[in-house]
Amino acid sequence: MATIIEPTIFELSSPGRRGVKMPASDVPQTDSLPQHLLRSELPLPEIAEVDVVRHYVKLSKLNYSVDEGFYPLGSCTMKYNPKINEDTCRYPGFLFTHPLQPIETVQGNLALMFELQEWLKEISGFAGVTLQPAAGAHGEYTGVLMMAAYHKLKGDTKRTKMLIPDAAHGTNPASVGMMGMSVVTIPSDNRGNVDLKALEAACDDSVVGMMLTNPNTLGMFDENIEKVIEMVHGCGGLMYGDGANLNALLGIVRPGDLGFDVMHFNLHKTFSVPHGGGGPGCGPVGVGKALLDFLPAPLVGILEEGNDDEAPFYGFITPKNSIGRMKAFHGHFGGGMVRAYTYIAMHGPDGLKDISQYAVLNANYLQAKVRSHYKIPFDRICMHEFVAEGRFEGSDVRALDVSKRLMDYGFHPPTNYFPLIVPEALMIEPTETENKDTLDKFADALIKIAEEAKNQPELLHNAPSTTKFGRMDEVKAARELVLCCWLPEDYEAMV
């Protein structure tokens, strides 16, 4: 029998216990629905309020979080989430407006959305922005649908291939797969750039376009970026930018200026929307002129211009060749757009540039501190993240072991085994919100672990040992597939 640290909410249930009660009905009683339409049982927990609170507080203490410490998870941009965002997004005027209210009653929401569209256009150099997509992958699919629609409208039906570098996030090929297109993988060269020879060979009239993360997942800004885009455009393809790594580029360079045709933003990375233990995110998409008419509908637009005395009147508009709707209603307004708007408003143009400069400085500083202890396969000035190899000559220690050992030193591990082109990859993204002391301590821990890997490898193999839980049996989880728990009384009836 396994030891139980915290029972499930079902195990805490006991028949007859009550939590929050609802008021008695103030209307005359109506007959109930016909019996054959009613459910026979409602097998949900019965718990008192105090026990619910204690349960979730106990669970919360089993999590590591940005509020507790350093979280250098590569390509995830785990920066500090300003507390003020948590207040602004809960103002009653935002919290309690219905998505289908008449537009004259929600001009504040529409003004916020319109300004956020304009700000994201300015930051990225694009001609149009949709706020509808719910997350990065959702934005990617939006972009791929627009690219397909663009070629289709031109009657160019033979384009079925998407070019994707070998360092790309898995969501890129998955988005393409959902559209029934095929993927052509483009290798990286020895400086971490797109291999131009391979790209040239792949560029022909069957290419839909290319999906490129820049800086890429090695943390490298592609030194031939303009050439890459020129080649893709040269064969009639469109250039997609994965904005997951935009935290390196604010006020540094605008993807639209470089020639990208479409890019998604991750407001939950770059613009401080918290990750929520897995979501919700917010994945707006920016487009250049070529794709402007294909954006999902609706967008927020000005229906009547304002003047010195009166604000403009905002409403919804539908682009001419819109691909349609990506989700119900208008996107992640409260949890995504309001927080990101607050964050951008508090930075202004100079503050945004500071973000990227310090994100890049912190990454380079860490890289410099650990360079002589870990192999850095692409060793040049990096952008906001870098990739080291978590393996050591004469030791059987792997990247996973290094990561687990970092927990013993009180840190969240970096991203492991990604990008796939680096063996035993440790992908480290410190973000701009960490101070020098934290970076020094983290570097010291990594250096110490590198020594342990050679002299006391069992410390790494057995890590973590200071956390509340040790390593998990993932094979057992997949083999037994216990995906639900039940009320104690139901469970007894089942076995």
Binding site: A2, G19, V27, Q29, L33, R39, L44, I47, Y56, S60, K61, Y64, D67, M78, P82, T88, R90, P92, G93, F94, T97, H98, P99, T105, N109, I123, A134, A135, G136, H138, G170, A174, V176, S182, M220, G276, G277, G279, P280, K327, A328, F329, G334, G335, I344, A345, P349, Q357, Y358, V360, Y365, T467, F469, R471, A477, A478, E480, V482, L483, C485
Partner: protein
């Protein structure tokens, strides 16, 4: 330098360690002519100024708690959220954590998701639930992806009810643009027919039948016959359900549904001008390998402690890349927690009370409104907390009149169904007092 903790002296020291002279020197790889663009954005606000500015924007809206009485639903419902829910969501340990890739230090999120899966499976009468989708509409589209994968792309037909939420139908159309499939059954002429009329569209080429419960017009049907007919042709059936209604109604699982999906916003999530909400996705165990999204399973750690991990990850995009069923990565984790806390703190009895209040108040409203001259219920089918009201003039005019009296009337069905331009979809929840319902009736009587 709003949230950057580094001092000028530390900056100098760090630059020296890196081996560059200035921050700008870190960006030599960026093409010079595009480097350091001047951004035309408003100057930075302090926290105090930002709070005031945002508050002003929020105040310029008319909200349904302080300014307007609302009978508007149509996929987003104004319910009471017990205080405990937001107190739990505001714990930084939950909301500032990432997706639980490192289970040793993420057991809080993992157990909470495991419990969410259990709660949703019990609610819908299905075997398994995933960790969430973006919203009810995208969960519906992912049901199509499951069916498409189940038949390896060989079946090419979707049969869709015209009484499925119009925006959900739009999203299914958008998502499936590249699959080379046809969608049938959703013609407006089918709106007044029984759900069994969909049977005539189901053939050996049909991968999925999608129906809503209660449907978009509020009607409750027993779908057992349609589901049996679909299964006879080998098609899967997805029921898009309202979770509050499921607290009272027979589960789609009992009717034989293969997938039960929907929008769990009514469970502890504010209407928030449309999002973020919470798509749920439940199915039978036999389809678990084809299901998209994250999944948490129970296991044990090396110390013999019960624990939880993300499992069956080989289905997902980061392993399977272009062969994955879906590209989903980030989901609605924190809102799944909201729904779990909501269900837990109201508990079985509190939830039944919510459902009963919705039911009683909606029926009182329907009864009183249909007594008014020129108004009547569109359908005699049973309903839960939302019903279609035929009005003596266009719904848009009725709504404008109500808005002048501080009431959000209902959803104008003429937006989506031209033949129903005189029809309002009216939603009533536990938030609507008898006084509010009587006011609605009174205003319409004087119209």
């Amino acid at each position: 330098m709003t949230f950057i903790p580094t001092s000028p002296a530390e900056t100098e020291a760090m630059l020296e360690t890196v081996g560059v002279k200035s921050l700008d020197d870190l960006f030599d790889a960026v093409p010079k002519k595009h480097r350091f663009p001047k951004l035309n954005l408003p100057p930075a606000l302090t926290e105090m100024e930002a709070a005031a500015h945002l508050n002003e924007m929020a105040m310029s809206n008319e909200n349904v708690r302080q300014d307007l009485v609302s009978f508007l639903g149509a996929g987003a419902y104004n319910h009471y959220v017990p205080s405990v829910v937001d107190h739990m969501l505001r714990r930084g340990e939950f909301y500032t954590a990432y997706t639980p890739y490192q289970p040793e230090i993420s057991q809080g999120t993992l157990q909470a998701v495991f419990e969410f899966q259990s709660l949703m499976a019990n609610l819908t009468g299905m075997d398994v639930s995933n960790a969430s989708h973006y919203d009810g509409a995208t969960a519906t589209a992912e049901a199509v992806s499951l069916a498409y994968a189940q038949y390896r792309g060989k079946r090419k037909r979707i049969v869709m009810s015209p009484a499925l939420h119009p925006q959900y139908r739009d999203v299914v159309d958008t998502y499936t643009q590249g699959m080379g499939i046809e969608t049938v059954g959703d013609e407006e002429t089918n709106l007044t027919l029984s759900p069994e009329s969909l049977t005539s569209y189901i053939d050996e080429n049909t991968m999925i039948v999608i129906i809503q419960y209660p449907d978009f017009l509020g009607r409750i049907f027993d779908y057992k016959k349609v589901i049996d007919d679909a299964h006879a042709k080998g098609a899967l059936v997805c029921v898009v359900a309202n979770p509050t209604a499921l607290l009272m109604l027979k589960t789609p699982g009992e009717m034989g549904a293969d997938m039960v999906v929907g929008e769990a916003q009514p469970f502890g999530i504010p209407i928030w001008y449309g999002g973020p909400y919470l798509g749920f996705f439940t199915t039978k165990k036999s389809y678990v390998h084809k299901m998209a999204g994250r999944l948490v399973g129970e296991t044990m750690d090396v110390r013999g402690q019960r624990s939880y991990v993300l499992t069956l990850t080989a289905r997902e995009q980061h392993i399977k890349r272009e062969r994955a069923t879906s590209n989903i990565c980030t989901n609605q984790g924190l809102l799944a927690l909201a729904a779990s806390v909501y269900m837990s703190v109201l508990g079985k009895e509190g939830l039944k009370e919510v459902a009963n209040l919705c039911y009683q108040k909606a029926h009182y409203a329907a009864n009183e409104l249909s007594k008014l001259k020129g108004f009547k219920l569109f359908s005699s089918e049973p309903f839960f907390h939302e019903f279609t009201l035929e009005c003596p003039k266009p719904a848009s005019e009725v709504n404008q009149y109500l808005l002048d009296h501080g009431i959000l009337g209902g959803y104008d069905l003429g937006n989506d169904y031209p033949e129903l331009k005189n029809h309002l979809l009216v939603a009533v929840t536990e938030m609507n007092s008898k006084e509010e319902i009587d006011a609605l009736v009174e205003v319409l009587k004087e119209m």
